[in-house]
Amino acid sequence: MNITLKVWRQKNSKERGRFETYHVKDVSADMSFLEMFDVLNEDLITEGKEPIAFDHDCREGICGMCSMYINGRPHGPLQGVTTCQLHMRSFKDGDTIVVEPWRAAAFPVIKDLAVDRSSFDRIMAAGGFVSVNTGNAQDANSILIPKTDADLAFESAACIGCGACVAACKNSSAMLFVSAKVSQLALLPQGQVERHERVISMVNQMDEEGFGSCTNTGACEAECPKNISVENIARLNREYLSAKIAK
């Protein structure tokens, strides 16, 4: 099939960007969306033009590096699928596809479709951990965890930190990302000791990074490639409130 792409091009964080139009011919339905970009870039290089910069690495939906905003939706049209796992069979011949970078003040553009998500790392450094030095641990089976709690914690821990929740949110809020980590550790006995301190530190850092507030729209959940639930946000709010009261 033949596809028309309108892609955001921006030389660096300082210069203004613009949309450019490209035509990609003979696209196979078995190609992934990123492989179509590979083909386009190969053509651009051969023509002596500059290829489109985009982030990607594992190409199996788990590293969280790919980050395209496709036809107005982070990671494109499918539910629970990252850009790298999106295949061209989801499109049809003659389609025009608009591709933009994540848009959020806390994710400045580096070049074209690549953005800087180091703000997520700083939130994690503020409290997204259990303080346990190597060598201190007791036998693993001495901590009993009900299966339902372990499963719930796992569902929250499945977040890949891609930032689609922020890109989808009209307020550019990072609540889904932060709440997933807070929930994982709040649901497990290992996380209890630091639960109050953790939630306050992480939320403070989130605010400092310039993410917006949550207004319970739920776009984050709808667009999350790992189906992280907004229930995590409810849990985060409860954790935050009880931490503030306890303080």
Partner: protein, 669 residues
């Protein structure tokens, strides 16, 4: 005889006591001195993140570098099935010795006993540590940890978190790393790529790194440098590695004096989604844990295979008697759970014989239909008191169980192929997955350059000629959490008098100039072909002539072809954009330039090893039944390659002595 240039520094004493004795007697560094000792960690996967966090906890000053935009993206994250540990929680006869034995046997008796034993010893601590961090492993209803089976073993010792074990372990190590970043003990350099090491007076003292956003070159000093930069499977272009996985850090170290161990040992994983076309950029693994419940088969009759290939026959319509469950047929004891190298070769054998089942003829079936209905479905039906369940009931009940165990893998398969694996058998074919070879290291994990260490997949030491499933995660974390924190003290205790060396030192200037020159050279070729063009060509040569099966004449041809391709690359590669900006094509070019050198060395190593062992299968050396035929008399050694000039090498041997395991023909029958 072991070369005089190689000393593995294996402690004296009985195997079971070596490590505990070593730990009790190794030199220590006073906490006050640790604050003045700086360690550079390159790579933030399981080995790098766990090492960095632990060293920072101990009080060292640590800098961590990774080329991704965050430490959490390292490719360890993609590991699916699980992590081994000799906990014996299942009471099925597991022990440290058994894990040690399975690993050495699985590696086809080409690993170093002392390192492998230590790996088995610390394996249990890893699970404890990860659980303490909040890693949500799968659990039973009583709240205890759950285990599953993996290839090459007869016990259940694999801990897992659905099909995302690597992700959960890496996020655990990443959280420990970020905690230390928060305290200021670690400085993190994401989107930085190491492009050289700096040696001063015979010791590694730092690195040159390129800031990938600005293109600037930076000099960083360290009293010691740890390379935790992963494996080199991407030399084949198509592999299950991430797009960015590369050999560059290890290769630059090799060029500065670190010997490269067993470069030809490559693991071809039997269960990957087959290639669909020329546009293919990477291959996707379907976890080995699927072999637990799936059965691998091809049609018994060639005409059935042909009909399937032509799309005229639905595989579900082939009767059980007309299916060849070739692994169960050839290896009745281990069946579908034979080690990866054995399973891969068996798949190739069937496809080469004309029984392949997809359009290219290079695929076999991995089928869940049986266990889904008659194991899980029946179990659930019994549980729910349903007598005489219908086929549909069995399917529905079984599907729920399979979904919980492997749901994300089934979804991924459907997403990539467009075929629903709950209703149709998956098609799979072997693909490059892991490299057992890597930088040669001694017992301390130090390379032949003093002060330079290699951890995880980047070193060669623990898996011999074939790695068992769920052992890569174990090794990465063992090296980082429990080995290097002790062994580095042995070196750094002698460095407490060494003040931080200024990066204005001439060795830093010289190294930076060398990197600059190389980058200029790449940018100035201004040829006509893209980096990928050359990478794909290299991959094809490697896969066809140094892949699942190798022979002397093919390897000789490959060496000539790679040399020629390397010349073309340096004459005709085109890198758009500028050097001093975010330029992914330039990054790729540097990595492919290194692969073009490594590929030749891999072929040389495969050519000198006139035997078959593990993942290294030389067609000239096989038994009548087509199994790998080792030559223990002449090849029970590690080949450690020293670079002596531009694309010139000398091979040194480290003799492998098996004192605690009786070396034997590997049998899974």
């Amino acid at each position: 005889m072991t070369s005089s240039k190689l000393d593995a520094h294996i402690p004296e004493g009985h195997m079971a006591e070596k490590w505990s004795k070593y730990r009790s007697t190794v030199h220590l560094v006073n906490p006050a001195n640790k604050r003045h000792l700086e360690v550079i960690v390159v790579g933030s996967g399981l080995a790098g993140a766990s090492a960095a966090a632990t060293l920072a906890e101990l009080g060292y000053k640590v800098k961590v570098f990774c080329f991704q935009d965050s430490a959490r993206r390292a490719h360890s994250i993609a590991a699916q099935g699980g992590i081994n540990a000799a906990k014996n929680y299942q009471n099925d006869g597991d022990s440290v010795y058994r894990l040690f034995y399975d690993t050495v046997k699985g590696g086809d008796y080409r690993s170093r006993e002392a390192n492998t034993h230590r790996l088995a010893e610390v394996s249990g601590n890893i699970i404890d540590q990860c659980v303490a961090q909040g890693v949500p492993f799968a659990r039973e209803y009583g709240g205890l940890l759950s285990n599953r089976s993996f290839g090459g073993v007869l016990v259940q010792r694999t801990f897992y978190a659905a099909g995302q074990t690597g992700q959960q372990l890496l996020l655990g190590a990443y959280s420990a790393l970020m905690r230390q970043v928060g305290t200021g003990a670690i400085k993190m350099y994401a989107r930085h790529e190491m492009l050289d090491i700096v040696n001063i007076d015979g010791k590694c003292r730092g690195i040159i790194a390129r800031n990938l956003i600005t293109g600037e070159l930076e000099r960083h000093f360290g009293h010691a440098v740890l390379l935790c930069s992963g494996g080199y499977g991407n030399v084949y272009y198509l592999s299950t590695n991430a797009m960015g996985s590369n050999v560059t850090a290890a290769w630059k170290a090799h060029k500065k004096g670190a010997f490269f161990g067993n470069p030809c040992y490559t693991q071809i994983h039997p269960t990957c989604i087959p290639v669909s076309g020329d546009h293919q950029s990477k291959l996707t693994l379907m976890s080995e844990s699927l072999r637990n419940d799936g059965r691998i088969w091809v049609p018994k009759k060639k005409e059935d295979a042909e009909a399937i290939r032509a799309g005229k026959l639905n595989p579900n319509d082939i009767k059980p008697d007309d299916r060849d469950y070739y692994l169960e047929r050839r290896y009745p004891a281990y069946g579908n759970l034979v080690p990866r190298d054995v399973a891969s070769r068996a798949a190739k054998e069937r496809c080469d014989a004309g029984f392949g089942v997809n359009a290219t003829g290079e695929a076999v079936f991995l089928d869940f239909a049986y266990n889904l209905r008659y194991k899980y479905g029946q179990m659930e039906a019994t549980k729910h008191g349903i007598e005489n369940p219908t086929e549909q009931q069995l399917f529905d009940l079984g599907k729920e169980v399979v979904k919980e165990k492997y749901g994300n893998l089934f979804d991924m398969y459907k997403q990539i192929t467009g075929v629903d694996p709950y209703h149709n058998p998956m098609m799979i074919y072997p693909a490059v997955h892991y490299t057992m070879g890597g930088l040669w290291v001694d017992y301390n994990l130090m390379t032949t350059v003093p002060g330079l260490y290699a951890l995880g997949e980047a070193n060669f030491s623990d898996h011999g000629a074939n790695r068992l499933g769920a052992s890569a995660l174990m090794q990465g974390l063992a090296d980082g959490y429990f080995v290097i924190p002790y062994t580095i003290g042995d070196y750094l205790s002698h460095e407490i008098g060494t003040k931080a060396i200024s990066t204005d030192h001439e060795a830093f200037v010289e190294a930076e100039n060398g990197v600059k020159e190389k980058l200029n050279k790449l940018m100035n070729v201004k040829g006509t072909k893209s980096v990928d063009h050359f990478h794909k060509k290299l991959g094809k040569i490697m896969w066809e002539k140094c892949g699942m099966a190798r022979n002397a004449s093919g390897l000789k041809e490959a060496i000539t072809e790679i040399q020629e391709l390397r010349k073309q690359f340096w004459a005709d590669v085109r890198i758009p954009g500028e050097q001093n900006e975010f330029n992914p094509e330039l990054e790729k070019a540097g990595r492919v330039a290194d692969f073009l050198e490594l590929g030749e060395l891999m072929c040389m190593d495969a050519l000198q090893r006139n035997e078959s062992c593990g993942g290294h299968f030389r067609e000239e050396y096989q038994t009548e039944e087509g199994e790998a035929k080792r030559d223990d008399e002449n090849f029970a050694f590690v080949s450690a390659w020293e670079r002596t000039g531009d694309n010139q090498w000398t091979m040194h041997k480290e003799e492998l002595k098996f004192e605690y395991i009786k070396i034997a023909q590997r049998s899974y029958k």
